[in-house]
Symmetry: C5
Subunit: 323 residues, 5 copies
Amino acid sequence: RAEMTNPVDIIPYIDTESVSWIDLQGIGNEAILQQVGQVFELHPLMLEDVVNVPQRPKVEEYDDQLLLIARMVRCQTHSDSFITEQVSFILGDNYLLTVQEIPAHDCFSPVRARILAAKGSIRRMGADYLLYTLFDAIIDGFFPVLESYGERLEILEDEVVTNPSRQTLEKIHRMKRELLTLRRSIWPQRDALSSLIRDSSELISDDVRIYLRDCYDHTVQVLDMVETYREVASSLMDVYLSSVGNKMNEIMKFLTIVSSIFIPLSFIAGVYGMNFENMPELKHRLAYFICWGVMIGIAGSLMLFFWRKGWFENYSTIVKRRD
Amino acid sequence: RAEMTNPVDIIPYIDTESVSWIDLQGIGNEAILQQVGQVFELHPLMLEDVVNVPQRPKVEEYDDQLLLIARMVRCQTHSDSFITEQVSFILGDNYLLTVQEIPAHDCFSPVRARILAAKGSIRRMGADYLLYTLFDAIIDGFFPVLESYGERLEILEDEVVTNPSRQTLEKIHRMKRELLTLRRSIWPQRDALSSLIRDSSELISDDVRIYLRDCYDHTVQVLDMVETYREVASSLMDVYLSSVGNKMNEIMKFLTIVSSIFIPLSFIAGVYGMNFENMPELKHRLAYFICWGVMIGIAGSLMLFFWRKGWFENYSTIVKRRD
Amino acid sequence: RAEMTNPVDIIPYIDTESVSWIDLQGIGNEAILQQVGQVFELHPLMLEDVVNVPQRPKVEEYDDQLLLIARMVRCQTHSDSFITEQVSFILGDNYLLTVQEIPAHDCFSPVRARILAAKGSIRRMGADYLLYTLFDAIIDGFFPVLESYGERLEILEDEVVTNPSRQTLEKIHRMKRELLTLRRSIWPQRDALSSLIRDSSELISDDVRIYLRDCYDHTVQVLDMVETYREVASSLMDVYLSSVGNKMNEIMKFLTIVSSIFIPLSFIAGVYGMNFENMPELKHRLAYFICWGVMIGIAGSLMLFFWRKGWFENYSTIVKRRD
Amino acid sequence: RAEMTNPVDIIPYIDTESVSWIDLQGIGNEAILQQVGQVFELHPLMLEDVVNVPQRPKVEEYDDQLLLIARMVRCQTHSDSFITEQVSFILGDNYLLTVQEIPAHDCFSPVRARILAAKGSIRRMGADYLLYTLFDAIIDGFFPVLESYGERLEILEDEVVTNPSRQTLEKIHRMKRELLTLRRSIWPQRDALSSLIRDSSELISDDVRIYLRDCYDHTVQVLDMVETYREVASSLMDVYLSSVGNKMNEIMKFLTIVSSIFIPLSFIAGVYGMNFENMPELKHRLAYFICWGVMIGIAGSLMLFFWRKGWFENYSTIVKRRD
Amino acid sequence: RAEMTNPVDIIPYIDTESVSWIDLQGIGNEAILQQVGQVFELHPLMLEDVVNVPQRPKVEEYDDQLLLIARMVRCQTHSDSFITEQVSFILGDNYLLTVQEIPAHDCFSPVRARILAAKGSIRRMGADYLLYTLFDAIIDGFFPVLESYGERLEILEDEVVTNPSRQTLEKIHRMKRELLTLRRSIWPQRDALSSLIRDSSELISDDVRIYLRDCYDHTVQVLDMVETYREVASSLMDVYLSSVGNKMNEIMKFLTIVSSIFIPLSFIAGVYGMNFENMPELKHRLAYFICWGVMIGIAGSLMLFFWRKGWFENYSTIVKRRD
């Protein structure tokens, strides 16, 4: 394992029989990429796809090389979102060239550790097996991201039913958007992998094809989970809309209860506030108290009516919930 | 039928001509699995798929073995939900190794009973027929779960129209979510079964293929039912939203009726409560009673108006419903 | 044409060269079915599919027999809904065995009439043509059911826009659910028919394949109609939701008009009901009448304002509609 | 070009080498159709498909004839809707028999004109080219219908946002329903055309296949437009629902502004209308005017509050819009 | 590079061995097109497709020519929308004829520059490579349009949540409509490209096929982005609807708070405004002040109640947001 800055230094490694893994970190320096292109005799289109990010994940066969464009995701450290990064694999007979979009942070560390420790079958097998190991590491990198989405969805589900606010709406929409991006990353990788397994490139041995088939299954599993989360998020949007309607019902019920009780009472009070000269009731000694009795009676029967319609039940549950 | 704890004890059974069924319950003990792997000469990927649950249901052919990952469901005893569990089948020439994720509770009891009773064709036929029998038992295990969902859906349908509450909304959303999980379990099993029937593995005889075709039809039937339930649940969400809107209409109608009747009356009362010095009506002897007459007339004609608009009809039906 | 109760009596009919149609009505009596199975040498899976209803419609080829599971629908006499019933066809070289789930009521009467009248080509042609005739009768049986749904949909469309009630909502949801069931009946029949036409079973002659192609077209037509109805029903749910919103707008407009006119007027009346000692207006001789004038002026200009906003227009159309 | 009423008169035309086009207008007279069937030796199924309208558009090959069922649309003269009509083409070696469902009004006039004028390539080429010309005329007949829908959609889009009423809702739903019917007409024609191009019938020459390919492209274009219109109409339904909600917001804002301003003021007026003996404020000489000042102050600050919340802005735009 | 107005002048260029690119700008002049048709011996259908815009993008092979209909988009300078224009490519053995619908503004300028500068591989390679270069330029022309949509979507997302108005709704609907048009432009180009790569036309060399594969990937990328934007726009419509509901809740809360506080207080004021002769409270010296105390107490406890229900919290956030 050596770090180089001059692409020409690679040449001796290519011609050896042993498998070489060349990992180019960062695609900023065009001159180096140009040199690498010359050293490995890359097709101009290949180089273009490697440099012009973002490309759609895909597999392309050239004469004696195979280009695999993959997309790596990882959770962002300080936010809920994730970052995607393009990784290009160029598989030759006995070398594997990987080009990463962003120098720092990849998910290849466990693979590197296994190589250095000379553990596992990576050292014994060819460059195609190395390609599988790295691609598998990329797919495995999707699972922690998906888990964080699963957790966020569960929190949102609680929030939507108990206390739907404007922020909840924004969160659901943002989640739907991010899941769309995630799907756009994983979907073409499945297709690429599928064509890698099916097509008869000589660069991939049959043994490795069995391993790739396993990797394909994991990709489908990721896709399944993304689709499930998207459907749950869509359903959450409906739940939100219904929750908002429910909340309005509660508000309207409160307004209706208060208004329906006091507006008729106010009317009665208004009647006996009239200044007609001949209003017999006004003169009765107990009239005022009878009037209060009538008013309390009306209020009580209205309360009973609302209680029987179940408006209080529903209302009390919410109050409990918020405590 | 024997219970063993040391995998090496299996060896004599494998080499006999008769069919052996080895059922490994639980995947917690890695050492035993490792030993089993050596005894049966399992491909490392095979062992990985068996151990790392959850895997997507699938069929994979290896040199002289066939791996079938299936997913078993069963209703939970104390709740509405269900539990899924991975069952891995490894089919060899004259043995079938099954590995269950969770030791207790499987749906193989009827199969075991039939074997012990030496009944049915299980004893006469090969390991592939045993595989079919067990897989069929797994698929049949979906039907009770689906039935419980069918019943819950019907209860929800009633609840949504007669008395939609916040809990109803949560229930619909949870049901949609669980049906998604159920679909994710059954969908890949259909694909696995389909490839099992189509592909020409030598481990599956043509006779058993006919049986698997039947099993495939049941899987499709399960899938059809899950999809139907999902569409009904989606439609229920719309019904819920409409019901909430309907309920709001009822509330608003009540508020409007009460307000529209008493606000104008209060205005009249207010007018005759004014303290202008020159208000001829106040002096009339019958003014107060005429005023009452006018107010009752206004209230009556408003009531008639609302009645003709059908606001009371609709309202009365709800009251009836709730008794 | 003879009615038999003992399956063994069929044997002489099977071995003749002429085509025999054996129609088993009802699947309750297992012993008879077992005997029939022996007489016709049916595969155990075949018998299972015939007996364990409901099965998914399908075609399955056995050595020298062909199993076709179909689903027959008919309108219920006293309700809007429909009944489905499984019909199993077992086609042999020169016989056709049909097994109906429910004894009474099938849609084969016209076929029977044609056979007895020795009319048409049914008598001249083979068992496969008979299969076609009966299956065609089943598919034709879908059309009256679909027509009844078409009519119900039109009634619902009127109801939704003119007078949407809680019952309308239930009806739409029930219709959607029933159409789902209908689709689940017809969809697999199309697939079965398609595989019957495409596959090269020797039991179906090329001449009959042309007829089956025609039958297939009708099946697709049924499916098209079911799908169209489902989309119309889904759209109706949206229309309902909008109608509920519209109705609420009308209610709110009424409340707003009444409140907006009388609340300010009540305020004015309240002001002159105050008991301040120094309120110069109260002493003026015409003050009361001026006050009335101002109030009428305010009410009038508010009415004009609402009229110009078009709130009355919209409102008047509804009143007209309901008369 | 001759008009005949007796089918037997056609016989001499069939046997000539030149291409004959027989156009049967109307399918009411069964006797004539029966005779035509005998003259052309039509398969009984063919005749059935021609007579029993509506059939699904399709292509069927018989021994030396080809049946093409097409569906012709045209705008209705006095309404927005369209009429569909079945046209059956029976293509023989050197004749083309077309059967129209409704005698009057077809879209073949330009073709007839070109034949009579001996212009174009129709006269030189075979019956298959004539089939292409007529079918192309049918597909071209869809475009004016689609244009009328495009215009109606644009009118509806304006109506939905500026002034959504109950009628708008009905119009959107009707449009969705009609577009579904239109799709059901064009979709199977595309399939029929596709199988006509792909299948190797000897009745269609390779030269004409190139022309049919062009016709196929137009069919796809029609389908694309129908699908686009359907999606726009679906989106319009959502816009309508949102518009209704928006309108309700406007109504509620108005009610809230009026109520929130006058209810507190009425309360103040009510306070000073109380008859307590000891109310010091009442005696103050300027109290009444101070009271007015306070009330105007409250009203003003509430107005300012609403204005800052943007409730008036939004409201003013609507008033402008309606003028 | 020469500009010509008489099509006959092209003839010498066609017969040379070097590759000629003839670019016809505008399709208004039919005479010239007719002449061009004769010069290049175009099939009549080809000419028709070139002239009758809009055609669906497609590839059609003729004897020794290949027709590719493409659709070019570009942002409009003074508006958010985009313009589409049909470009027809006719590829011959050593010439490429392009016909543009609108003379001015195409996206071929960089290609022209490279040809004139004799840079790149365009000069060295055949007419098929030129076709690729131009088509690639068309696909690349979609990206700036998509970017402008991405930006507009982000602005809309902000607008929908913070301040949803009637204009927002119109914008979302218009965006959905335009994205549908965009999809209708790009979708068939993908199909055309796919058939160009797959089919074995001799006019396209294998080397160029590799380049077209790259171009195909970009087309799929454009399509992916359009679909993603459409799903985001659909989700925005739901967000809008929920936002409208949220806003209504805020309005209703405000109304309910004001009404619930002042209506009961007005009732109390109304009670002591009654004119009963015997109302003991009225005579008490501190009664008026006690009455005020009670009213303030009621108002305070209602405020506390609303505050505990969280109605003020939510409300305050909006006020902050608008500042």
